[in-house]
């Protein structure tokens, strides 16, 4: 975001800003994710647009005070927000390690709040500080708020019967209270949430509320140095309607439910094996038994997909979900589902790799795996979610394509989208256009690979149907009878028909649109998946500067929309920002023979808007 050049102030003297970026950072046991997500909730209810970025270590409770154990929650909020923000305006650092790791992201002149009592010699040494940064001048470029948050928290909860450890754990709520004061946000939702979460332990709820209020009161009671520490952030100009915050995981789960309903199927069978960052989808779906969902925590990734295949074979909607390493394990079974032509939705929450890689960090490096990563000629449609809320529509689309074309569909999301939240104008889930499935019941002229001449989809004949008893399997099947066939010409024909079926999906998806900008110009930025926010924001900034740039964001990655190649040819240059070393760019180059160029980042962190703006400027010699 461009910073305002002239500081505007409201009647109370608070600086007015279009948007603000803040980050809570502390130990992985400090409750930073809770503080951050509650802040997001209150912010959303205050009418702001927002984007969040939970960034946490793979270790559940990393050693206290270590730099690798820092858990952070970043949020940008304001009138029109596409990303979690490039630079921090405010940093809450609960210990020296959090300060050390995150201070480079704080803008010059930004505010840092530190808990002074955590700056002990031991913690300083663990964080690698030779001198206490609170005493030297290293923090001089920033406004530093030194507060003994631990002591103030302990004071606030005194007399409530908590142990020392329990009392100390309330300090995230104290920090949250201060931040909520800083932006004039309400605390009601958080207090209600605390009551519900600690319903069985009212003293804990009371203590956390007391800490929250104390933090808020601290801001209020003029103990703050100078004036204007708070900001007034412009509210978003949102379309009227009912809103909520939504994460990519929630939107995916609800989209699957809406897809199940639109397909008119009785049951969704979700087979899954726990893996970071995909497991939350299993957790969410486990609550939907009353909606016809059965979740199965399988013994491994292979059993997870196989159970989903078995469920689809028996007439349910089979869905499985994992991250890249788990998808690799599912690959043989995916080939079976392609060969026997059964509907299946496979969701990949991508993470940094290879192998275990960085489980909690996002990457987009499984596109090749999704499009090409199987033995033999085994095509399947691949689609990707662009934002947390976009996951809802993409999940419905995955169900539609899987059931209509009798094929596995790969749905790509990533660790960032799964946990990131944004405000969402709640759609009418019951207004989703139905795409009812018809099971084959007529024995006349039936064999299991009899096809719909238009879609080339085979008949879905479900066990339990009299007169349709048949045998299918992984061995090649005769085009004309479905029986085992080793006939050379038949294999050629079946391979071609499987490919043609997937290719024809291109006729059944929307043409590629331009997200922002003209349909011709000096440069187009082509993205897919979770890079939507930074690319979009970058292009808007460049357009405001008079650049002839456009943003094209591809949801349908295989097959591509029919017009994609022609659309891209309308631009002098094609730049493809990706969180991998160049996968979509390679597919675009090989498919359309276009001189597309990659802009690649694999740090496990999302693109900054400025990184994309700079890349475009340098190429357009601005």
């Amino acid at each position: 975001m461009a910073s305002p050049t002239v500081t505007q102030r409201d009647v109370g003297g608070r600086e007015i800003r279009d948007s603000v970026v803040i980050r809570f950072a502390g130990d992985s046991g400090d409750g930073m994710q809770l503080a951050g997500s509650q802040f997001a909730q209150e912010t959303a209810m205050a009418g702001s647009d927002l984007a969040t970025f939970p960034d946490y270590p793979a270790e559940i409770r990393a050693p206290a005070g270590s730099t690798f154990g820092v858990s952070a929650f970043q949020i940008q909020f304001g009138s029109d927000v596409m990303t979690p923000g490039d630079e921090l305006d405010v940093l809450v650092a609960m210990n020296p390690a959090a300060l050390k790791v995150t201070i480079p992201d704080l803008r010059i002149g930004g505010t840092v709040v530190v808990d002074t009592s955590a700056f002990t010699e031991r913690n300083l040494s663990k964080a690698g500080f030779e001198e206490n940064p609170l005493e030297g001048d290293t923090l001089a470029p920033y406004q530093v708020l030194k507060i003994d948050i631990t002591k103030r928290t302990l004071d606030a909860v005194e007399g409530l019967g908590l142990t020392q450890k329990e009392a100390q754990r309330c300090k995230n709520m104290w920090s949250l209270g201060l931040m909520l004061w800083m932006y004039s946000h309400d605390r009601t939702a958080t207090i209600d949430w605390l009551k519900g979460k600690f319903a069985a332990r009212p003293a804990i709820a009371e203590a956390n509320t007391a800490a929250l209020n104390a933090g808020h009161a601290f801001g209020e009671t003029a103990e703050m140095p100078g004036h204007g520490m708070g900001y007034t952030v412009a509210a978003a100009d949102l379309e009227p309607g009912l809103y909520r915050t939504v994460t990519g995981t929630e939107a995916l789960a609800w989209g699957l439910l809406a897809g199940l309903r639109a397909a008119g199927l009785d049951r969704l069978m979700f087979g899954s094996y726990p893996i970071t960052p995909a497991s939350p989808l299993l957790h969410v779906l486990a609550h939907f038994k009353p909606y016809g969902v059965v979740t199965f925590q399988a013994e491994d990734e292979i059993a997870a997909i196989c159970s989903a295949i078995g469920a689809s074979y028996a007439g349910a909607l089979g869905v499985t979900s994992s991250s890249g390493p788990g998808i690799a394990l599912k690959t043989e079974a995916l080939g079976l589902a392609i060969g026997i032509e059964l509907p299946l939705v496979v969701i990949n929450s991508q993470r940094a790799g290879p192998a275990t890689g960085m489980p909690t960090k996002a990457e987009q490096s499984d596109l090749f795996q999704a499009v090409y990563g199987r033995n033999a000629d085994a095509p399947l449609p691949v689609i990707a979610a662009a934002t947390p809320s976009d996951s809802f529509a993409v999940a419905i689309e995955a169900v539609r394509l899987a059931t209509k074309y009798m094929t596995p569909v790969m749905l790509l999301t990533d660790g960032y989208l799964s946990s990131a939240a944004e405000p969402w104008l709640i759609p009418d889930a019951e207004a989703v256009e139905p795409f009812p499935v018809t099971f084959r019941t007529d024995p006349k002229g039936f064999h299991p690979f009899v096809r719909d001449p238009k879609t080339l989809a085979r008949a879905w004949a479900v066990p339990g149907t009299p007169g349709l008893e048949h045998r299918i399997g992984g061995l090649e099947r005769s085009y004309d009878s479905g029986h085992i066939s080793y006939d050379p010409e038949n294999h050629q024909k079946m391979t071609e028909v499987r490919a043609a079926k997937v290719a024809r999906i291109a006729d059944d998806i929307p043409l590629q649109d331009v997200a922002v900008g003209e349909e011709r110009g000096a440069m187009v930025l082509v993205g897919w998946g979770s890079t939507f926010g930074p690319i979009h924001q970058a292009v808007r900034l460049l357009l405001a500067e008079g650049c002839q740039v456009s943003h094209v964001h591809v949801r349908y990655l295989s097959p591509f929309p029919r017009n994609l190649g022609e659309l891209l040819k309308g631009f002098d240059r094609i730049l493809v920002p990706e969180m991998n070393t160049g996968q979509l760019v390679t597919v675009l180059r090989s498919t359309f023979l276009l001189p597309a160029e990659g802009l690649n980042k694999v740090t496990g962190k999302p693109f900054k808007v400025s990184e994309i703006v700079d890349a475009v400027r340098s190429r357009l010699e601005m």
Binding site: A44, P240, C306, G310, A333, D428, G474
Partner: protein, 340 residues
Amino acid sequence: MTTAVASDRLSPKDYASDQEVRWCPGCGDYAILKAMQKTFADLALAPEKTVFISGIGCAARFPYYMATYGFHTIHGRGPAIATGVKLANPDLDVWVITGDGDGLSIGGNHMLHVLRRNVDLQIILFNNEIYGLTKGQYSPTSRRGTRSPSTPEGSIDNPVSPGAFALGAGARFVARSIDTLQPHLIGVLKRAHAHRGASFVEIFQNCLVFNDGTFSAFTDRKVAGDMQLHLEHGKPLVFGKERNRGIRLNRQELRVEVVTIAENGVTEGDILVHDETNRILAAVLMELEPPEFPVALGVVYCDPAPTYENEALVGVAEGGAAGVGLNAVLRTGRTWAVEA
């Protein structure tokens, strides 16, 4: 649950598919197929409600030959696919056909978990102690010293006992039979079908080409009487051509021994009585091996427990919960209105 069709004159042929059977001439699989088709005819099972699921191997061709629904899947994964089928439609009667390689090597993990979960399936493991389809390598049930293309000097792995494995995994039904022992095998298949939950059946199956005669120490007619212990619930563990030998518990040494009735003061009252519900006895019976002991055949263990799919599906709405509004789901938690 399978409902019987309204016909009392079904023959095994009514359950044979139109596919040409392609096992080696003389393969034990033919006898098992025959026994299965006879079992279906005797019980008048509904073909449209039956699904045979297999992995990979010689045995895995089995579903193609039954005139029911059939799914020939991938190596070792039959139990996982069958679990999905039961979670989608628990009313289907699902049989898993597997072998010693498919079920205990590449698919050993799935076998462990499908048994402990107690999914209502009949799991029929054809044990021929060899890899047939890949041309004769030793398998996880091959005895030490098995010479094969991959073990020219004899295998050095210790074999797994399928029955002991199943018991250890928590199976609630474990039975054994022999391919050629037709009436006995049909009886075991009927018991497996009647059992609700995972029924594990090991069938000793002769591979004529790669491992002929591997079970002859107890399957040959000449020795069958002395080397087979046919189990019946509530009956003493008596065997032998003269029906005068039995299994006695040696309490001092906590082991069992073979004794002869009417010799050395042994009476029939000294012989252990088979109790299908006694898991410890089942474990002991699984340990009996020639030459010292006869091989225990029949229902070794049967002690029903709640099935996985019945419990997993409690509360799962039928009909896709068509009457339940989705909009309510999207409105759970905090919402706020933006005014025009």
